[in-house]
Subunit: 147 residues, 2 copies
């Protein structure tokens, strides 16, 4: 079962992103009960289309484990992964994905479609909606400030 | 219309990948008739799940243009993009994608499914099967040697 402690850390990273003017999304990757990698949205700072929280976390996790397969890992991410990030989860073979808020614009884990229901031969355990209110609140506050 | 010159460069990068023991996939990104970024598969070398040819090319292109949107760009890639790479194309807003061989295992541009037919609100011009024989031959030779 998902643990609050890890999502709280992901929410803190999301909050850090918001403070820097980034859409608040945070992500941690856990293995054997330990956070081995983290990431937060840095798309504006770096002007890089790839720099979603999940991609930066997977990049760090592969570096930390020196392994392109992240078997035995669980990802906690505050927002439902987009197609790019869901595809990266697939390529890395991450066993479990716990996400907070759903994304009806860009979500590829059920929000718009579910990439893991397609015939790519890999399906992580998905837990959606975990601490979704906290995640959605961060996003709502961020977009309210922009207007 | 796709130009052979650019796919020939992508094929050269794919061939370089094969020489280093990587599945041969190469990619270039073109803007205003000039190659602004390149990438080739480096997944084994770096042990990084993200290091597909397209991701490394997009990373380089965003850096080169200092822009997370790659509008006005055309990607040439020797193999049909996977879900991660197709999602990255979507996030970067690349206008045109020219690919060589289809991928019935991992292709997300028609091979297994087409991510651009889903409701993500972005659809590049897709040209599949361009110089597909040359690309497929590289892949076939690579996997024949492995066995």
């Amino acid at each position: 079962m998902p643990e609050k402690f890890f999502m709280e850390r992901a929410l803190k990273l999301a909050s850090d992103a918001a403070a820097e003017g980034e859409v608040p999304v945070g992500c941690v990757i856990v293995r054997n009960g330990i956070i081995i990698a983290e990431g937060r949205n840095r798309r504006e700072e770096t002007q890089n289309a790839l720099h979603h929280a999940e991609i930066l976390a997977i990049d760090n996790a592969c570096f930390a484990l020196h392994n392109r397969r992240l078997a035995g890992c669980t990802m906690y991410v505050t927002l439902e992964p987009c197609p790019m990030c869901a595809g990266a989860i697939l390529n890395a073979g991450i066993d479990e994905v716990v996400f907070g808020a759903s994304d009806t614009n860009m979500g590829a884990c059920g929000g718009v479609m579910n990439i893991f229901e397609e015939a790519f031969g890999f399906k992580p355990k998905l837990y959606g909606g975990f601490m979704a209110e906290e995640s959605a609140r961060l996003l709502k506050d961020f977009f309210a400030k922009l207007r």
